[in-house]
Each structure stands twice: as C-alpha cells, then as structure tokens.
Amino acid sequence: MRTSYSVSDIMTCALARMLKDGETVFHGVSSHLPMVAIQLAKHMQAPNLVHLNIPGGVNPSSLKKASYSSAGADLVTGAEAYFPLDEVFDLSMRGKLDVAFLGGVQFDVHGNVNASVIGDYRQPKVRLPGGAGSAVLIPTAKKIILWRTKHDKRTFVERVDFVTTRGNLWKIVTPLCIFEFRHGKLHLDSIHPTSSLEEVRANTGFELLYDEIKYTPPPSKRELDVLKKIDPYEYRALEFQLNR
C-alpha cells in the first residue's frame, strides 16, 4: 500500500534522519520545519537528542501550541531545563553544539549563504531579514543543516550577492532534493521521489555535481504516524502556505 505524503513531510523526514542519538541540536525563529523534525527524530532513532531553541526550553515536551512561532514560550512549558539563546551561542562557540538548523535566502555552489541583502549592502535592492545567528553558528556548530522551502534559480546561484556567512555546512534540504557540501562544493546528494533530476537541474542556478543519482527514501508509515501525532496541525507546512 502506498501512503500519500506531502513535500513538507519528506523534507521533515529528511531533516530528522540526519540527527544521531545524543546530539545537541538547535533551531531558531521561523523554523517550524526543523522544530518538528527534531521532535520526529526524538520519537524515532534519537530519543536522547538535546533540543535547544531561542526561548530556552531544553527538550520541550510538546509543540502543539507553537502555531505562529518557533521562538514562543510554548517551547519552555514542559521543558526539562532553561538554557536560553545567549547560552546556546556560547555553547556553540565552545564547540559543543552538534547540529544547528539554519535558513538563508540565497545559496551558492561554494557553500556561501546569503540572508542579508540582494544588491548592495548599504543600498540594498531587497533587504532580507538577516542571518540571525547564522554568521556565528555556521562557522562553529559541528554540522550545519540548512533548509529552504523554495528551490529556484534565484535561490541556488553560482555566486551569492552577499556572503552573510559560510562554514561547517553539511546538508541543504529543499522541496526538490538534498545537497551535501563536500570538497568545497555543493553536491546533489539525493532527489526526492516527488521530483526528478530534470526538475532539480531546471531550477538550480549552477551546474549540478553528483557521483550517482540517488533518491531520498519516502517517509515511512511509522514516520508519518509520528508526524500526525506530534504535529497534528501541520506546522511543518506553514512555510509553504506563505511562500513569498
């Protein structure tokens, strides 16, 4: 029997599977997808993850009220300790943050991330929200996982307009595929079964690098069941509902 799933499901599962048990993992604001992914991983292969976030709740017990924010107080209610943002940063500086989930608006084949501006920094054509913690976390957290719910030629470019940061980039998850950063370049790691090599190529602004064509395994029945339980209101799909 085939189970139906959405792009946000496969993205969430892809993010979740990248986490190993016992790791210390952080996400910031506007980060519903990784927030749900962390909880999914805790219910699957990684029950002893340490989930850190901006309001400071260590291992929040539920996300069900986090409708409009991944920095809300809900993450503190039912948490097991309080460890706020400034401390998370210090932790990463000390080399003790295993994984940080971060966003960005523009990415290039060289692993540079732009979350700042399109155009000139002082006279921008478009002022983006800013990199938030990225500029210090991407160079210091051990593994950086980026995600973006848009995959087009303006997002994946040969050279970003502005290098907000670069560093320990490991994976980028998009609606179409997963990139892995190695030997100084983004490589196509796997294509989601909902997409195709042609679609990825047509929507990527740099030449695709890959050794072999692999496909992201679809969400398992168990993963989808857990998602239904931990994220019944599908916050993981919020970003798709408001694609700007």
Partner: protein, 277 residues
C-alpha cells in the same frame, strides 16, 4: 524617588537620537505600548537595538522614528511574513541597518554591561559582515593564539523592558523566556519598565531570589496591562492575530496612525488604575 510614571511621562524620557534597546524577541513580549507611545510622540532618529525584532521595529520604521537598526534579524515569523515597513525604509535609504549575528548584539551588550569598549567573539570569522561593518575588527591575540574578532560595545541610552510584575521600586520579574532583557538592563544607561502588574514589595520579596531586575537599576515603572499586545506575553496572553493582520494589510501612514489611535485607551488605562503599594 517616585518611579511610577504615566506612559507619556516615561516616554518623554527618551530623547530624539537615543540608542534604544527593546526587550522581547520577534512576536514575544516586545514593549509595544511604549513603542506606540514613542511613535505618538514622534520620536526621531532612534537607534534601535535588538537581537531579533518584528512588529516593534516595523512600526517605528513606518512612522519615521528610526535612524538605524542594530539587529541580527528583523521579520515577522513564518505565518506573517516579512516586516514591510522596515524593508521599505531600508531600501529607500531612510534607515541604516547595521547587521549583526544575534550573538554579536549579545556580545556588544555584554561589553556595555562590563563597561569595556569591545568584546571578543569566537564565531564571526568569515563573510562580508566582517568586511562591510566597522564595528567588527580582527586583531592579533596578544597571548599568542589565532586572530580574534572584536565587536564594538553597544551602550543603549535606555532599555525598555516589558515585565510580568514589579513593585513600586522596580524590583521586577519576568516569567518564561527572558530573551536578552536582563542583559539589556545591565547594559543600558537607563532602564524603563512597563509592567502587567504592580504588586506590593512584600510580595516581590517572597521570591526575591528570582527577581530578574533589581529595583535599584530601574529609573521608571509604567503600569500597562496588555503592554506587549499584539505580541504575546507568556502565560498572560497570546498574540493578537487580528490586530497583526490588520496592521500588515495597511499601506499608508494615515492607516497606521489610526491603528495607533485605536490603542490609546488601552495603553493609557493602566495609569488610571489603583496601584497597591
């Protein structure tokens, strides 16, 4: 030594051109009543400081109160999209953005709290932020290690923090996430609190150990129930979805001024209430 002021009185403390640190984070516990009153009093050329701002910074940009923004992130979260007036003000050249990593704002405030001119920062070692901004420099480590990035101190003239409760002396408590608020009260030259509730000193003393801001650091206290609305306030109220949506649909200044007007009664209600001291 009377610290309890009306909202208008307290906002009059803020000077045009002041560096103003705003408490809270994105849509949570921002000092919105105070922000609205700054807009009503037509403050000019404010230099805003916050790790991650949203409605507060956007509203002040919409009404031309802002000269510059020092922040790591300015946007509503996912569901509400970007900060339209902030963007417009920056793209039109009216407002200067000094982009930080959120952590470098924290470090710059730590430097202020220690009264040193800079703070070393581990993580900021690559990219254009380092190149484009003169508040970052890379120096040699005099103890012989790797080069070190320094961020220049940010000393707010005033920190505006919305708290859950405080007494008439300003001994204050925040429940749930404190974000950078406590740090801001140590970094700023002057601290102004808006509060959901003014409670008797003896009641604050019952859990003195968990007071976040001791009164002797506080210059003024303003009683403003719902003072963070339409942002959320932990365990008190959630965001006001309708107000945020109506604001975000507004295109021109008149609309936004009438939006401000609509809050007046609510913003000034606290000062008319009896305060038990």
């Amino acid at each position: 030594m009377k610290k309890i002021l009306t909202l208008q009185e307290a906002v009059a403390y803020v000077q045009d051109g002041d560096t103003v640190a705003l408490g809270g984070n994105v849509l949570h516990r921002a000092p919105m009543a105070f922000v609205r009153e700054m807009a009503r009093q037509k403050k000019k050329e404010l230099k805003l400081v916050k790790t991650a701002g949203a409605h507060d910074i956007d509203l002040l940009c919409a009404l031309d109160c802002v000269q510059s923004v020092e922040a790591g992130f300015v946007s509503y979260e996912t569901k509400y999209g970007l900060a339209p007036h902030y963007r417009k003000a920056v793209e039109s050249g009216k407002v200067t953005v000094n982009e930080h990593a959120c952590y470098t704002v924290i470090c710059a405030l730590r430097a202020a709290s220690m009264n040193v001119p800079f703070m070393p920062v581990k993580g900021l070692c690559a990219g254009d932020l380092l190149v484009k901004n003169d508040y970052f420099v890379v120096v040699e480590d005099p103890f012989g290690g790797e080069p070190v990035t320094l961020v220049k101190a940010i000393v707010p003239d005033v920190a505006i923090i919305h708290v859950h409760e405080c007494d008439q002396h300003g001994n204050a408590r925040i429940y749930g996430p404190r974000f950078e608020d406590v740090l801001m009260t140590r970094a700023a030259k002057k601290v102004i609190l808006t509060t959901e509730q003014i409670v008797p000193r003896e009641r604050m003393k019952l859990q003195a150990e968990y007071i976040d801001i001791p009164g002797f650091l506080v210059a003024a206290v303003v009683h403003v129930p719902q003072g963070a609305s339409p942002c959320s306030c932990y365990k008190k109220y959630d965001i006001d979805d309708q107000a945020l949506r109506s604001y975000l649909a507004m295109q021109n200044r008149d609309e936004i001024e009438s939006y401000l007007k609509r809050y007046e009664r609510k913003d000034y209600a606290g000062e008319r209430m009896a305060v038990w001291v």
